[in-house]
Structures are given as structure tokens and as C-alpha cells.
């Protein structure tokens, strides 16, 4: 798995490539923690190249929900494949985390 981060205006983009499993979820955790530490509060997680997410990967997202709420930050997931989306849906996480089709929608949500 590989993580790319980039900054577009006030949006901080975290792009995930590959499988998000128990070992690689640590990288994602670090990336989000780093973004928060930098004071980023508009985070877009681009899941275009995310092929698989395990419960450990989901655990990373869920663990930040409360933190984001407390900080007044927001995180939006976009470009999610149907399969990955289904995982979020079954778990009910789509109720807690904003998932949108594309970057523009993400920016719109965060604006």
C-alpha cells in the first residue's frame, strides 16, 4: 500500500493506493495523525486506488470520528469503489463518515 498526500488550497488530500489491511493501516493512521498535527481541518481521503479495506483499516477511520468532531475538523472520503463502499455500508460507517463520488463534491461538502 502507498499513501500520497498533497495540499490543494485549504484541502489536504490523502490518496490511498492498494490494500488497507492490518499492517498498512498503521501508515494511514500516521498520515491522518500528521495531518491533524499540522492543523489541517479539511481532509479529503481519495480512495480511487483503494482496492480492499480490512476491519483494521476501518478501525483507523472510526478512531478519528470522535477526534474530528471534537476538533471541528472534517474528513470526506471520495472516489470509493463499489466494493469498498459496500464494506462501509454494511458496517453502518457511511452514516458516520461522509462518502461522496468525487473530489469536487468533497470540496463542496467541506466548503
Amino acid at each position: 500500500m502507498h499513501i500520497n498526500t498533497s495540499k490543494e488550497q485549504e484541502y489536504y488530500r490523502i490518496a490511498i493506493e492498494g490494500d488497507l489491511d492490518a499492517s498498512s493501516s498503521i501508515q494511514l493512521d500516521e498520515a491522518i495523525a500528521a495531518a491533524r498535527a499540522n492543523g489541517e481541518h479539511k481532509i479529503i481521503v481519495d480512495c480511487q486506488e483503494l482496492h480492499y479495506i480490512s476491519s483494521a483499516g476501518l478501525g483507523v477511520f472510526m478512531s478519528y470520528i470522535q477526534d474530528f468532531q471534537n476538533d471541528g475538523c472534517s474528513m470526506v472520503l471520495c472516489h470509493m469503489s463499489e466494493k469498498v463502499k459496500q464494506v462501509f455500508a454494511i458496517l453502518g460507517l457511511d452514516e458516520l463518515i461522509k462518502i461522496v463520488p468525487g473530489i469536487d463534491e468533497a470540496k463542496a461538502v467541506l466548503a
Partner: protein
């Protein structure tokens, strides 16, 4: 007859021979005009003398032969002791003889001959004893050749007893030529002095002393022989006896040669002793490796052995553990403060004592060595202990001499260190293995405990047939299912999955079971149960851990299901009449995903009715996410198709069919994730 009987017999025969010989002597002297012919008496006398020699020798051959070879100096001591006992007797006899003769002022042939005869006995005993002790010395660490040579020599010597029957002139050329081979053999054998090398310095000095005394004893005997020979007419004159003179000469030669060799060996004996000591230390080190002693024993043996072997003035040993932190420090003749100063100086000079073996000829020549001025150590040898590129520690040896370690010393230290490294590594591997074994045992217990957390009896209601399959990826897992009968009308079935695997998931699963059983009898509505469970879990779940759970209330008599699905894989309801499947995918959030009061707004209750013959299929994601070698998932579609195909199967058959199909798909029976399947058939 045993050897000891033979020995006794030989000695008895020797004694008898000697006594008859004595009687014969006395008879000849008292009755010179004896009536039996001279020739006969001569032959008889020689026969008796020969048997006396022979049996004394054979007796001692057994006597010495059966003795265990102990210390070499002890053997020399034995020879000396016999000499020391026999010599005073000879001297007393001489003095007594002198005294008596002075009084009588005349030559008393009888007395002289008796004394001579006693001397003959003593000398023979001494020689026989010495001869066989020397045999042992000569054959010490014998080679085949020496063994053969000795046996030839020994038999030749024993045969030479027959020379009693003939008269020779020793100085005759023909005689010398005839006996030359025997003499040469004797001389060759004399130079078999391997035993000298095995003596230490002290033993050598002791041996030299003993040999010197032996030589004195032998000369005293010779003096006695010749004095008798000169002053009186003897019936048996040992000074003419080739056998006695030859053996005595042989022993004397041995003593001389050994004495000289020992003397010349003295200067090198310290080196030999040291080498020998090294071998012994090495053996000791090796033995510690073999015996199940403690790891700490290896440290002290390595430190002491190394220091002694290279005669270092000080030494210290640092041992590091797996995380490279100091585990043990021991030192000899240097205190920790000085070690600290030396290490500081080394560090300032960019010398890392842990990385590779290093040798410093004189530390005082290095910069930053000012603080070491008070120390007398000059040369330092530093050898790290390593095993598989892992540093186990460092041995440092210091000498007051500049450039005090030569290549030999360095080599032996390297050998010591590598031996010790292996030993330490072995101890560590051993303790690791024990630890692993203990963990395995613990896991086994955990597995048993977890088994007990899963219901063994699934017959909760006569109208519900139930069958379960559950297999963990590891020994213990995070899948959970449970059943509970509240009344004839109400039964509860629950299935869940803790995120993550292994032991931590198993613990969470146990917590889930606790929560289930503390809430279930309250007969709560499913979504209320979930809210309570979420609240309870939010206090004890790890931050990134959540649980998916489906909670079913079954009313078998009215054929109704109430359920809430907290993020768990949707259950499937097979309708027997149509063969269609319903997916029970009501909305609901996994437990622990949010840990505040808002949870209740994310969980919902659903209700549905079923008919007789319908089946409810519950499972965890390990089943649908099972994948084959090309990473393809088993998926919902395959599962649904299979269930529809086997819509008439019993709960047990359905369960087996599904699991077999999944395993066939995976190409293995081993699941990568925890996998649980529960099939309920309503009758």
C-alpha cells in the same frame, strides 16, 4: 588361577630358591670336604640362582603390571622407596659385619657369605622392581614399535638369566659383540621418555631429586657387590653375574638419561605447562557448554580462562542482551571506574569495542589518554562476542606491557570467545524455546477457554433445528455466537465478529459474551440491547476495535423474527415455499464505532415473519471474504446461489455443503480469517 595367585606362587618359589641357596652355601662352607660331587652342587646352585632371579622378576612383573598407573612421580617414588628400605639393611649388615669381623680379627667365610647372600636378595628385589617400573615409564604413551621392542628386550633379558651357567669375561671382544644387539635395544628403549613431557615444573624437580637418589642407591649396591668380591671368597659372586650387572646397568642408564633430559626440559616446562593449562581451560569452557549450567557461568569461565591464559593483568567482560543494553558486567583486577575511563578514552578515539576485534599496543600513545595516566595498563585486546551478526558482548584484556599480546595469544582468545559465544547463544535459544513452549501451552489453555464460551447445546427449541461451524484463523479468534432460551415462546440467537484477530480479539469476544449474558434475560428489544451493549463496550473497547453483531429474537410459535443488525454481515432467510432468499440488511452501526449516546439513533429494529421449513443463515465476514489463490473473494452471490440450490437440505447438511464449497473455492481447509456459519431451520 588369578594373577595374584601366580604372584604369590612366584614370590614363594623365589623365596624357597633363596633359602635353599642359603642352606647350600652354608653346607658347602661348613663341610668343604662334602661328599656330593662338585659339579652337581655347581649346577644345582646355578639352577637355584636362576629360579630365584626368574621368579623374583616374574613376581614383580605381575606386582607392577597390575598396579594402576597413577602419577609418574609416584612410580619413581616407588622405586626410590624400595631402594630406601633395602639400602639401610645392606648398610646395617655391612656395619654389623665389620664389627663382628673386627672382634674376631679373622675372615669368616660363613658370615661374609651369609651377608653377601642377603645382599644378593635385596639387590635382586630392588632391580626387579626398578626394571618393571621403568617398563611402565618407557611404555608410557607407547607406540606399537616401542611395545614390540620392549617385549623382545624383556624376554632377552630374562633369557640372559641362563648366563649363570656359563662363565664369561665381560671385557672379551666376542662377548661384547654377542651382547651388542641387546645393549643397543636397551639404549634405544632408554630414550623413550615421553613421560617427561607430561610433568609440570614441580614434578620435574621432584623427579630429578628422586633420580639422583636412585643413582646413589644403585652405586651403593654396586659398591657392596664389589667390596664382597674383593674382600672374600664368595660362593655366589654377583660381580661376575652378567644378568644382574646388565639389568643394573640398564636401570642406571635410564636414570642418567632421564635425569639429563629432565634437567634440559626444565626451562621449557613452563611453556608446556601453560599450553597444557590452555587445553584444560578450553576443556572446562567446553564442558560448561555441554552441561546445563547457567549462562553466567560461561561469563566467569571465559573471563578467568582468558585472563590466565594470556597472563593479562586485568580483564573485563560486558554482556549485552537482545536490545543491546548492558546485561552483565564482570571484571578482574580493575574497578568499574577505571573501565569507564578507558572506555571514555576509546570512544574519544572513535574506537567502538563492540564492533570488531581490536588491539591497542599502547593506550598511553593515544590522544585523550591523560586520565589514564594513573593506570599501569598499556596494551589492550578487545574481542567482541558475536553470534549470527548479533553482538553478545565484549571481552577486554589489559596488560601492563606495551604490545603485550602476541599472535598466539590473540588466536587462543578468539577461540575462547567463539566457544563462549556459542555457549551463550545456546543458553539464550534454550530459554527462548522454553518461553515459546510456555506460550504454546498458554494458547492451548486460551483455546480451551474460548471453546467453553461457545454454546455446546444448540437445541434451544423443538421448532428450531440449528447447526454451527466456527473456525479461527489462529488458535483463538474473535468470532462469537450464542443462543439463549428465554421461554417457550422466545429464543435469542446472536452472532458477532470482533475486528482484528488472535488473542486480543478473543478477549474482546469474551467481554461480548459477558455483556450478552448480563443483558439477554432482560428480554430487551434488539435495538435496545444494542444500545446497552454499545454503552458497555464503549468503556472497555480499545480505540480502534469494534464489534459487528446481529441480534435475533425468535418467536417460534408465532413464526416471527425481530432483529437488529449492528454492522454485521446481513443474514439470509431462505423461503421454503418459493426457494427465494431475503437479505436481512436492515440499517445499523457496528458496536464501538461511536461511543456516545448518539448510538441509539444509528440502530434500528426490524421485524419479519417466516413459514415452516424456512431457513435462517447467519455467518461472519470470514466466510464471504474467503478468497482463493488469485485473491478472488467467495462473495455473497456464490453463497446465495449455493443456498438456493440446496434449499431442501437440513441445517446440518446445509452447513456442511456451504463450508465444503468455501473450502473447495479457497483450495484449502485453513481459513485466513475467523469464520463462523450458523444455519437454522424452522420446523
Amino acid at each position: 588361577m588369578s594373577l595374584l595367585h601366580f604372584k604369590r606362587l612366584y614370590f614363594s618359589l623365589a623365596l624357597i630358591s633363596w633359602i635353599i641357596l642359603l642352606v647350600n652355601d652354608v653346607l658347602i662352607i661348613q663341610h668343604p670336604e662334602n661328599n656330593y660331587p662338585i659339579i652337581f652342587s655347581d649346577i644345582a646352585m646355578n639352577v637355584l640362582l636362576s629360579t630365584f632371579f626368574l621368579f623374583t622378576f616374574l613376581g614383580f612383573k605381575i606386582q607392577i603390571g597390575v598396579q594402576r598407573t597413577g602419577q609418574l612421580t609416584d612410580m619413581l617414588w616407588q622405586v626410590f622407596l624400595l631402594g630406601a628400605v633395602t639400602i639401610p639393611i645392606t648398610i646395617i649388615i655391612k656395619l654389623a659385619g665389620d664389627l663382628l669381623l673386627q672382634k674376631q680379627l679373622s675372615q669368616d667365610a660363613l658370615l661374609t657369605n651369609i651377608f653377601n647372600h642377603i645382599n644378593l636378595g635385596l639387590i635382586t628385589i630392588f632391580i626387579a622392581n626398578s626394571f618393571y617400573v621403568w617398563k611402565k615409564m618407557i611404555l608410557f604413551q607407547k607406540s606399537n614399535r616401542t611395545d614390540i621392542l620392549w617385549h623382545l628386550f624383556e624376554y632377552a633379558v630374562l633369557i640372559s638369566i641362563l648366563s649363570n651357567f656359563f662363565s664369561f669375561t665381560i671385557s672379551q671382544q666376542s662377548f661384547i659383540l654377542a651382547t651388542a644387539p641387546l645393549t643397543v635395544t636397551g639404549i634405544i628403549l632408554t630414550f623413550n621418555l615421553k613421560w617427561v613431557a607430561f610433568m609440570n615444573y614441580k614434578q620435574k624437580w621432584r623427579s630429578i631429586l628422586l633420580l639422583a637418589l636412585l643413582i646413589v642407591i644403585i652405586f651403593t649396591f654396586l659398591e657392596r657387590i664389589y667390596e664382597h668380591h674383593i674382600i672374600s671368597t664368595l660362593i655366589i659372586d654377583l660381580s661376575d653375574n652378567i644378568f644382574i650387572l646388565a639389568t643394573m646397568g640398564f636401570i642406571l642408564a635410564n636414570c642418567f638419561v632421564a635425569l639429563l633430559v629432565l634437567l634440559f626440559n626444565l626451562p621449557t616446562s613452563s611453556v608446556f605447562e601453560q599450553k597444557f593449562g590452555e587445553v584444560m581451560l578450553f576443556q572446562k569452557l567446553h564442558q560448561t557448554l555441554q552441561l546445563g549450567d547457567k549462562e553466567e557461568d560461561v561469563y566467569s569461565i571465559l573471563l578467568e580462562s582468558s585472563k590466565v591464559t594470556v597472563m593479562a593483568d586485568a580483564a573485563w567482560l560486558e554482556i549485552r542482551d537482545e536490545r543491546n543494553s548492558l546485561k552483565d558486567f564482570s571484571s578482574i583486577q580493575i574497578d568499574e571506574f577505571d573501565v569507564f575511563e578507558i572506555k571514555k578514552t576509546l570512544r574519544k578515539n572513535q574506537i567502538n569495542i563492540l564492533s570488531e576485534p581490536q588491539y591497542i599496543k599502547n593506550i598511553h600513545d593515544y590522544p585523550f589518554a591523560d586520565k589514564l595516566k594513573h593506570l599501569s595498563y598499556k596494551s589492550l585486546l578487545m574481542v567482541p562476542l558475536t553470534s549470527n551478526n548479533q553482538t553478545l558482548g565484549t571481552l577486554v584484556l589489559a596488560k601492563n606491557l606495551a604490545d603485550g599480546f602476541d599472535k598466539e595469544m590473540v588466536d587462543i582468545i578468539f577461540t575462547f570467545v567463539s566457544q563462549a559465544s556459542i555457549a551463550i547463544k545456546n543458553f539464550r535459544l534454550m530459554s527462548e524455546a522454553i518461553q515459546t513452549e510456555r506460550y504454546k501451552e498458554e494458547i492451548k489453555i486460551a483455546k480451551e477457554v474460548q471453546k467453553s464460551l461457545i454454546p455446546s447445546d444448540l437445541n434451544i427449541h423443538p421448532l428450531i433445528q440449528m447447526n454451527a461451524f466456527s473456525k479461527g484463523a489462529a488458535d483463538v479468534g474473535g468470532d462469537y455466537y450464542d443462543v439463549f432460551r428465554i421461554s417457550d415462546e422466545v429464543c435469542i440467537v446472536v452472532i458477532g465478529d470482533v475486528s482484528g484477530h488472535g488473542t486480543s480479539a478473543a478477549f474482546t469476544m469474551a467481554q461480548m459474551k459477558g455483556i450478552f449474558h448480563s443483558l439477554v434475560h432482560m428480554n430487551l428489544s434488539p435495538e435496545v440491547f444494542m444500545s446497552h451493549a454499545n454503552l458497555a463496550l464503549s468503556k472497555c473497547l480499545e480505540k480502534k476495535i469494534f464489534i459487528t453483531l446481529s441480534y435475533f429474537i425468535l418467536y417460534p410459535k408465532i413464526q416471527k423474527i425481530e432483529y437488529a443488525r449492528a454492522g454485521h454481515c446481513p443474514a439470509l432467510l431462505l423461503h421454503n415455499s418459493t426457494g427465494n432468499l431475503s437479505v436481512l440488511d436492515g440499517k445499523g452501526l457496528g458496536l464501538g464505532l461511536t461511543r456516545n449516546q448518539s448510538y441509539s439513533s444509528f440502530i434500528h429494529k426490524y421485524e419479519l415473519h417466516y413459514s415452516t421449513g424456512d431457513a435462517l443463515i447467519l455467518y461472519t465476514d470470514g466466510l464471504v471474504e474467503a478468497h482463493n489463490t488469485s485473491r478472488e473473494e467467495y462473495g455473497y452471490d456464490r453463497l446465495k446461489r449455493l443456498i438456493v440450490e440446496h434449499s431442501q437440505a437440513s441445517a446440518k447438511e446445509m452447513n456442511d455443503v456451504i463450508i465444503e464449497d468455501v473450502q473447495l473455492f479457497m483450495g484449502t481447509t485453513q481459513f485466513e480469517d475467523d469464520c463462523t456459519l450458523l444455519v437454522l431451520r424452522f420446523v
